[in-house]
Amino acid sequence: MALDDRKTDFTFVGTRPNRPDGLDKVTGRAKFGADMSAPGMLHGAILRSPHAHARIVKIDTSKAEALKDVKAVVTRADFADVPFKPGLAGEFWNVLENVMAGEKALYDGHAVAAVAATSALAARDALKLIEVEYEVLPHVTDVDKAMAPDAPVIREGAADYSVPEGMHPNVVRYHESGHGDVDAGFAEADLVLEDSFVTEATHQGYIEPHACLGLLGNDGKGELWCTTQGHWIAQKTCAALLGIETSQLRVTASEIGGGFGGKTTVFIEPVALALSRKANRPVKLVMTRSEVFRATGPTASASMDIKIGMKKDGTITAARGEFRLQGGAFPGAPGDMTAMCAFAAYNLTNVKQIGYDVMANRPKQAAYRAPGAPMGAFAVESVIDEMCNKLGLDPIEVRLKNAAHEGTKASYGPRYERIGLVETLEAAKAHPHYSAPLKPGQGRGVSCGFWFNHGGETSVTLALSEDGSAQLMVGTPDIGGSRASMALMAAEVLGIPYENIRVTVADTATLGYNDVSHGSRVTYASGLATIKAARHAVEKLCERAAAKWDIPVEAVKWENGCAVPSGPNAGDFDPMPLADITAKMGRTGGPISGHFEATPEGAGVSFGTHIVDAEVDPETGKTTITRYTVIQDAGKAIHPTYVEGQFQGGAAQGIGWALNEEYIYGEDGRLQNSIFLDYRIPVASDLPMIDTVIVEVPNPGHPFGVRGVGETGIVPPLAAIANAVSNAAGVRMKQLPMSPPRILAALKDNG
């Protein structure tokens, strides 16, 4: 994009108006996934495997079917009966297998059958009458054990081209990249440090369980209401799994009660539709919290080895990392992303990274905020911190010395465009937090973090009304206030008040394909499309003005919400406000809309630096986070308050991951902590205020300079907190979560 196309002085962008859907959300009238009902509606419930790995010998549903309240029972056979489109393979096949088990139950909580009945209680009661005969198989849930020669095989033949010969069949993808000669680099170093790190799987922990209401007739036409980050992917996937035409299924996204990556695929939606088709009535399915934990995507667990060489002055001479990620019983653990992001903050001559995608008997991992990046940053930034300690160097100075900047060859290959890492580090160094005195027992940690960000398919329509207001239809569900950002950007282009723009998340029948609200893409991609759709409408507005003034359209420009002559030579006309044009639009050429669709490529990578203070109780190993500061490059903050909110939310989730959240499996392979009581996400009293600094280094790939901000904020916290805790406790913590028993044990081992 040409630089002169970029805007730098703003009227609306950068202000902090109330969100358009605020009233709905504070009065309880906003409709989330479970809030919809339909006439004649049935309630569904899903039977789940109690075994981590078992062959399904037989399912007898006859007793359940005999109940008068039960209107349909489905198993995998009901999906297989469907005349699938040829070639249901790859990820569609994986999703089907995850949605309803086939020959084997692959993890504790894997769906094996489902019921639709006249009430939720009746459906749950009916599940108890379904008899499933299992042949229990050996299982494995740990990533390193799943790679060991004697590990039970989850599925033969799941590995792709990339896996070198001789690896266990549970290793399904392999990634290797880097540049330079790491051995030569290590030889140049004054200090070489090598260490291993482990992180447990964590769940996105959105407060709204998955919920949907599906209606499907035997004519192949259906309606689906669901809580999702992307209703087009839900449409496409459900259609494929049910063997119907994509366009015959209309999907409406409900308000979404959090996603963080976990609602980028389907779980219960195809089941509700299958039940509905069989019962010929609408079916509502709502997961319990326990189902959410057992059967929807946690992030991957990881086991990692890092080796870094450093000169006495802090220059990194070489870096090597090996990242083994376990992503449940299906391919998909982002070992490649972990590897590519791990060293991305640094300007390295010699770097090598290896990533593994490993299957185990756990639920299919789903994306979770910068998927893969936080684990790698934890390992790498811990080693760098330890090296700073050993060499007596300031951790921010060392990071600045090695920081990537424009033109640096990234660890994952290409050279960076304009990036803002150095700016975040300089801001961190200058922040009062960094120089504030620490109390006894406290430690300070810093870490950098990197994420790619994403563009994705995007389609936006903006329609003007006769009174001069505008309705904007976007296809990306609003998870955190994006309606406000869209309206601000549209207002900026149109020059009409923010309040005059109504933003709607359109259903799949009213807009072209839109990729999921993920990859920090909404403000970037839907924002870019909104700007261009608004500009498209402006072109038409200018045409109408030109026609009225009888001058060439090139002689008209758009300024402050009015068409004006572009210069003295264009003629002497009073500015023509938007509302004057739209008032007569029906008689001057017809309705005026703007539209834009594309797959914008230019999301712009993003960096952040976090500073955290932690206090450790040496007698109990309990950690308190006493101060936290997030500094991140947003490119351009459209609505700064919601940008701050993204920073704060990422940090809070990182604090949970670092300190207490984890998937705990018993010897039997069953999940031990499938309720919020035992899956300990941070509560209000656990956290301090979270300070934020928004750095703005504009992204050359967006008209207003936007970089996505949603994900990067969860990359630095694990390492920053580990560094703070390690510095407070005087012992290096290498395993997450750093729960009190682990810290106390480490303190004891350290004497």
Binding site: S162, G262, M337, G413, G519, T599
Partner: protein, 81 residues
């Protein structure tokens, strides 16, 4: 000709080369030519790749122009949460 830098994991599919040359004016051309000249690259390309042109990451697009002399990297397809 465009010099395409591969990630090192792909060397086993290109007879050890980490940089290969193909004739391409767009990202679509580039992928097609890569598969034509190195058939073993079909696997990774089908599995999904992104292309960086002078540092700008093209996640999926096949129509992006590749200017003469630009630095081109093949990358694993990026995903997000």
């Amino acid at each position: 000709m465009v010099e395409v830098h591969l990630w090192s994991g792909l060397r086993s599919l290109t007879g050890g080369q980490q940089v290969v040359e193909v004739e391409a004016k767009t990202t679509g051309d580039l992928l097609r030519e890569l598969v034509r000249t190195h058939p073993q690259l079909e696997g990774p390309i089908e599995a999904g790749v992104s292309i960086a042109i002078d540092g700008r990451v093209i996640a999926t697009g096949l129509t992006e122009p590749i200017p003469e002399g630009s630095e081109v990297y093949l990358m694993q397809r990026l995903r997000g949460g």
